[in-house]
């Protein structure tokens, strides 16, 4: 099997997993928010309401697709596609497990695009592209609320991207590589970056919330002021794509944070204790379970924070980004650089 075919197969699997996870997250968000707010939540469709996402998608597909008169139609059409495409394409550099040793001695890496020299930068680059989906949606709708949402989003993303990049730089200094697989390898045996980079992790976490437009940073779609923000004029599956992109973004952001700070699929002691050899199928399954576990914790945090904290005001958002996170990120780089220089 050629490597091209193999990559395509892995890509197809990753895409399907991400879409299923996104749908599951919609359900979980509703159930967890209900739990936090002492409600019951969706429980009618299927056992425990588990088929609710399916019903939602069916509803979105059969809804009328309304495009506003005077909207810029090509951009109105392409904006949700950009959002979802960017959110999903980041997946290809994420390594949810190490590799499978085949009979002929070759290593079958689990990541879609393993050992990419610039894996982390790829994530940062594509997450900065994601803003176009929102900005174009806001502009093309020909609606002032949409436009305001789009403008807010672009300002917010530019501001928090910097803090995110700076936090990532410090983590890369500790790990010594931009390659996702090597970042995880450098943290093996429980030497996770979060122990050495607690401040960096916090900055990256806050910036991730802002980059994914999640509460308390969901100003682009703040409903009391902007109706629905950039997706005010979207209906049917186009709206559904934005919705899906938000959850896909949450998933990829959690996966990147797991890789960068929580040791990825690494779990100290346990694999050797259980006698799982590197490259065997049980080991890969174990690693997948560890990775999924860590990602789930972060995803729960995303949902928990949304239903706990109130939304920021716009000036507070900008102050936090430029006056708190950016200087902290720079200081973190200087301190990390000094320590890395003198200790190693």
């Amino acid at each position: 099997m050629s490597s091209l075919v193999l990559t395509l197969i892995k890509g197809a699997i990753a895409l399907n997993v991400a879409l299923v996870v996104a749908a599951a997250l919609v359900y979980l968000e509703r159930r967890i928010s209900a739990w936090i707010q002492y409600r019951i939540g969706p429980n009618r469709v299927g056992p425990f309401g588990l088929l609710q996402p399916l019903a939602d998608v069916l509803k979105l597909y059969t809804k009328e697709d309304i495009v506003p008169y005077n909207a810029s139609k090509p951009f109105h059409r392409i904006a949700p596609i950009i959002s979802i495409a960017v959110a999903l394409s980041v997946l290809c550099v994420i390594a949810p497990a190490s590799y499978l040793l085949l009979d002929d001695g070759t290593k079958l890496f689990i990541a879609v695009a393993p050992n990419v020299n610039v894996g982390l930068l790829f994530y940062l680059a594509l997450s900065s592209i994601g803003v176009y989906g929102i900005v174009l949606a806001g502009w093309s709708s020909n609606n002032k609320y949409s436009l305001l949402g789009g403008l807010r989003s672009s300002a917010q993303m530019i501001s928090y991207e910097l803090a995110m990049g700076l936090a990532a730089v410090a983590a890369v200094m500790v790990s010594g590589s931009l390659d996702m697989n090597q970042i995880i390898a450098s943290q093996s045996g429980g030497r996770w970056n979060i122990w050495f980079q607690p401040l960096g992790f916090l900055i990256f976490l806050v910036a991730s919330f802002a980059e994914t437009n999640r509460a308390p940073f969901d100003l682009p779609e703040a409903e009391p002021e902007l109706v629905g923000g950039y997706h005010t004029e979207y209906s049917g599956m186009k709206f559904g794509l934005f919705y899906l992109a938000e959850y896909a973004n949450m998933f990829t952001a959690s996966a990147v944070m797991t890789t960068l700070y929580l040791g990825g699929y690494d779990m100290p002691f346990l694999p050797t204790l259980l006698g799982l050899q590197e490259g065997t199928l049980p080991r890969v399954l174990f690693e997948l379970a560890v990775f999924v576990g860590k990602v789930s914790v972060l995803l729960f945090l995303f949902i928990w924070v949304r239903w706990t904290l109130p939304r920021f005001r716009y000036d507070q958002l900008m102050n936090l980004g430029w006056r708190v996170l950016l200087p902290l990120g720079l200081a973190n780089i200087v301190i990390t650089g000094a320590i890395v220089f003198f200790v190693r």
């Binding site: 810029s72 790829f122 680059a125 900065s128 592209i129 900005v135 806001g138 502009w139 789009g150 403008l151």
Partner: protein, 168 residues
């Protein structure tokens, strides 16, 4: 034709098409979007030339940061009066055409002068990694690198002073 060559032509044609789109669209947002597509195509071209780091930087810096600002400003000012700009600055256009012609000439001379440079040498593949670019920037080209940083800082300070002039 290998996949790499096929992709090279695909990205090349895409780059030319989107570049033409950039300068022919009357709508500023459409022109900006064409330019973003062009940057992506350039990044693809860099990838076919084994320059991964350069390709990612192309997207991160140009498409992800600079063009976001450009689009932001276009939307904030709500530019729509592009008809008024038509057929002005004829001298500028003539000068631009002349400079473009000189650039094409230079490219032609360069390609004809060194036929051996047309193909990717094995050493070139290692040039495109983050490590080698970092090494070059912080050793051989440290002074120009720092000088450019200083220049950018000066530009930033200048921009802030211009923006704050009314406050003080």
């Amino acid at each position: 034709m290998s996949l790499q060559v096929a992709l090279f032509f695909l990205f090349g044609i895409g780059a030319i098409a989107s570049a033409i789109g950039t300068i022919t669209r009357r709508n500023p947002v459409a022109a900006a979007v064409n330019l973003i597509v062009h940057f992506f195509m350039l990044a693809g071209l860099y990838l076919t030339l084994q320059a991964q780091f350069l390709a990612i930087l192309q997207i991160l810096v140009y498409a992800g940061a600079i063009m976001v600002l450009v689009v932001f400003v276009i939307m904030l000012l709500n530019l729509g009066n592009e008809e008024a700009l038509r057929e002005q600055f004829t001298l500028r256009k003539v000068l631009g055409a002349a400079i473009a012609a000189i650039f094409m000439l230079q490219l032609g001379v360069l390609f004809n002068a060194s036929p051996s440079q047309r193909y990717l040498s094995p050493a070139a593949a290692s040039l495109g990694t983050a490590e080698s670019i970092g090494q070059a920037l912080f050793t051989t080209y440290l002074f120009p690198f720092e000088a450019i940083s200083l220049l950018l800082l000066a530009a930033l300070v200048g921009a802030i002073i211009l923006a704050k002039r009314k406050v003080e």
